[in-house]
Symmetry: C2
Subunit: 172 residues, 2 copies
């Protein structure tokens, strides 16, 4: 799939079929995530792929933003201890979330090219998710990407490029 098309036709999918997602495909999505740039090339991200039905059921309970019954999820996490060592505390706080977001978008674009639907979610109980995924305190989940085959693909909310794009300087 052409990258320009992928960027413009990716949607936030919230209705999924029951079809399982192949574990090697999920690994390839994480690989795509790892090709995103990181601050100082620190690569302090950690990814947990979840497909177990019982665990997915618990995950849905602690993630109110996780709408629909996607059969798989990828938790995009940061090893904040390593990020602080690499970047300093202030930059780790500011930049690790942005690194995670870029990795999540690569995952979503790669998934779209694989014929999969995704939805990125930031609304979840962080402590409960840390317990569910056995993350130590310093490995913090920042985003969840729901992954599955779309049962329905929503239309795109409109974009107002000209209203948000300025040349040389901002004006009201």
């Amino acid at each position: 799939m052409d990258v320009r098309e992928a960027i413009r036709t990716r949607r936030s999918v919230r209705r999924y079929s029951d079809a399982a997602v192949d574990i090697q495909v999920l690994h390839r999505l994480v690989e795509a995530g790892c090709w995103a740039p990181t601050a100082d090339n620190a690569q302090t991200w950690r990814f947990v792929v979840v497909t177990d039905a019982a665990r997915m059921s618990k995950l849905r309970m602690i993630a109110p933003g996780f709408i629909g019954r996607a059969p798989a999820a990828i938790a995009v996490c940061q090893d904040m201890a390593e990020a602080e060592r690499r970047l300093g505390a202030a930059d780790a706080m500011a930049l690790a979330p942005m690194d995670s977001a870029m990795a999540a978008l690569n995952i979503m674009l790669e998934a779209h090219a694989e014929g999969l639907g995704t939805c990125v979610v930031a609304s979840f109980n962080r402590d409960a998710l840390q317990k569910l995924l056995r993350l130590p305190e310093h490995v913090v989940p920042l985003l969840l990407v729901a992954v599955g085959y779309a049962k329905a693909t929503p239309s795109a909310p409109p974009r107002e490029v000209d209203g948000v794009c300025y040349f040389e300087e901002y004006h009201e």
Copy 2:
């Protein structure tokens, strides 16, 4: 360009030729940025495209991370007043940077498909950049994307996918 190839062959370019970048191409990069998902579909981003040589020269002085003489830059900003209205103060602080990061990555992937090099930069004097781009206090620049034709394309730093990808649960 295939999206999988674009994800894997995009590089952080730090050496650029003098060739100018067409303004319509830069507008298309911003459009690609606007196709990224946003929290609650808030789309509170603002983009300032800079190509004026005198302004670019000033921009380089206030952005130590802006290495090389890229002929153009796109400042990815957030209208934090609108973000707070849409998302609440806490979510605006947490999520607007992630929305900006995803927009920046779409810009970089689209640019790569256009044959352009980019480098995303988070290191700059925020106050000075706000003045240079005449941004009001509530429109905050979060990332700068350098854009130009690459004079040299660096090789990719290695990625260690298996060392950061876990299945079902994390382990040391």
